[in-house]
Amino acid sequence: MSITAPDAGLATAWDTTVDDAPVALSARHGLLAVAGASGMVWVLDAATGAGIDTFELPGGALSVALAPDARHAAATGPTGYALWRREDSRTTVRDTGAWSSAAVWANHERVAIASGRRAHVLTPDGDERWATEPAASTVTDLAWLRQGRRLAIAAYGAVRCHERHTPKPVATYPYIGSHLALAVAPTGRWICSGNQDASIHIWRTRDASELTMSGYPGKVSRLAFDDTGFWLAADGAPDVTVWDFSGKGPAGTAPRSLRCHQNVTALAWRPGGDGHLASGGHDGTVAVWPATAGRPGSRLSPARTLDGDAAVASLAWAGPELLVAAYRDGSVRAHQLPSGTTL
């Protein structure tokens, strides 16, 4: 007797198409921003998919981040960045010529933007408050710690932490290699970087003790902590790996592995800390997982899977009940989960 098929799909809440290949999604406070590779950003109503506004970053886009209150957004790209204001749809474009990999909001009043080898901390309208000194290479990722009082930047050779208004780092976490992605536990206890050399490097912030998870088949370019800070999901293999960071951390433990995609292209934890993870693949599949179930080392099965027509470009949760997927062919689809806590 079966009640529900374990691999049942999800109801589609809405479905739209943008005229570009999406590269990034950001969902905050009822809005959804979709950045296209050639630089157009579509701002949509997350509940309905209805268009609200668009803005453009000439030179192309790599990422987009809505402010927590969704009154502003920052888009970053290969030749600069752009800031958008919802109130009057004013867009400020900074054509710096420098590679801007990411923007991260500390709160609704401050955003850190990677620009070449530095990170700039700006007001939502683009006034610079302070900037870091140049790192060893182009900055690849950013993360805020301590409620927006400390900024971590990843670049070649190290993750460096800066206190507000101090260009020089207050703490340097060296590791020779190219750090591609940065994740900081919401508890502030761990700093993790995904690396070109197919490893995850981990520092405990308390004493800077180090740990390396090596042996991935490929580079690790996506890392994400869940809301509790106890679970870290990573790509770098056909399986998504989920490491347990509770207690003393993951040293000596085995990760749970999640196999569904040929190549992992997107990871997004469901808000709420229930251990539910969405992942997407180059083969167009999207899976939703009870990613912390089972025992360490076990291989988990997805609770839900969806098949798309093109590679998954990005995933974002617009609240715990709505999962948005953007595909390389331009389609953007929102899927409704039956409740805020179950899968």
Binding site: D20, A21, T138, G177, Q196, S199
Partner: protein, 340 residues
């Protein structure tokens, strides 16, 4: 009726050409020719000095040379972080490109550029390094080749010639026949098999430098009869080529051990290696090519009925010991194993 598998499976990956050469050798001129000539190809260009070229039809991206070492400290595993980033972003765009060109700075070391295509899976899956094309200024190259570098510093001109799959010998209108002959001999002393294309104002037949499949060994050997030609060393040069041509079938285990040890211990000095091999028991040719310690191999076409099982390979590098290489390789023959 049975479907015949194609002799050589078609590589769907986008070809990438790397242009190297000293400042003033004509890289920008060649780039502009490639971009303006009516070839109907959609080209993306990654250049190191922004704004030098600019054509409506092409996407031009700026690169800042960022050389990354891996944590294992092996200098052969250095890659170009800027290229990984830019190529990654290119592959995420909706439009597809028929060809990608990478222009390096005059003093760039070609190794990290080439190694990037081996070391990054995402790039290797979607792009293939088609050829390293080096522009040589016929009027000034001798002076660059003769430049004495401090201990441990590589002469970039020698390096760029050693790595090249094609050499455009540019500005031949500015020199006499004797100089052309001398420059050609010097190039051959370093890289004996390389195809040398003489040119004025970087005017070359584009198919000779674009999509040549120089990293496709089948074509290297078909195109370059001089691949393994011995050259008289007219100059005392430490960077040379060693070509080996040996009949017989190889014992795969011994070959792996020998090649593995060789590249692990001498990989710093071996810039390039390429070959077509006959493995005992394999119906297809085994084709490999490498950059320093990194090696990539796959089975190529079937050996034809009655075709002689012949192994042809070449090493280009510093302080190569021809006798040791020949002996080591001969020991990999399956018959050598039977005799031992």
């Amino acid at each position: 009726m049975t479907a015949q598998p194609p002799d050589e499976p078609r590589d769907e990956r986008t070809p990438v050409t790397v242009l190297t050469g000293f400042l003033g050798s004509g890289k920008t001129t060649l780039l502009n020719r490639i971009l303006t000539e009516q070839h109907g190809l959609r080209v993306a260009v990654i250049e190191n000095e922004f704004g030098e070229v600019g054509v409506d039809d092409a996407l031009v991206l700026d690169a800042k040379e960022e050389i990354f070492e891996m944590n294992n400290g092996c200098i052969c595993c250095t890659v170009r972080g800027d290229l990984i980033r830019i190529l990654g972003a290119l592959m995420r765009r909706r439009e597809t490109f028929d060809h990608i060109l990478i222009e390096t700075t005059g003093l760039a070391d070609p190794a990290p550029v080439a190694q990037t295509f081996f070391m990054d899976d995402e790039i290797a899956a979607q792009l293939r390094l088609d050829a390293i094309v080096t522009l040589v200024d016929a009027a000034h190259v001798l002076q660059h080749l003769d430049e004495v570098k401090p201990e441990g510093v590589e002469n970039e001109a020698v390096e760029q010639i050693a790595f090249a799959d094609r050499i455009v010998l540019n500005k031949i209108d500015l020199v006499d026949e004797t100089t052309i002959a001398e420059v050609t001999a010097r190039i051959r002393a370093i890289n004996s098999g390389v195809q040398i294309i003489p040119a004025q104002h970087a005017a070359v037949d584009l198919p000779r430098v674009l999509d040549v499949g120089a990293f496709d060994l089948e074509r290297v050997l078909a195109d370059d009869p001089a691949f393994l030609t011995e050259t008289e060393h007219q100059h005392d040069t430490t960077v040379t080529s060693v070509g080996i041509d040996l009949t017989g079938e190889l014992d795969e285990k011994r070959l792996n051990r020998w090649l593995g040890t060789l590249l692990r211990t001498k990989g710093v000095d071996i810039f390039r290696s390429k070959g077509i091999l006959a493995l005992a028991g394999a119906p297809r040719q085994y084709v490999f090519q490498g950059v320093h310690m990194l090696l990539d191999g796959e089975f190529g076409r079937d050996w034809r009925e009655g075709e002689e099982r012949r192994n042809r390979l070449v090493f280009i590098g510093r302080n190569l010991d021809r006798d040791a290489l020949e002996r080591g390789f001969a020991d990999c023959l399956a018959t050598a194993g039977a005799a031992a």
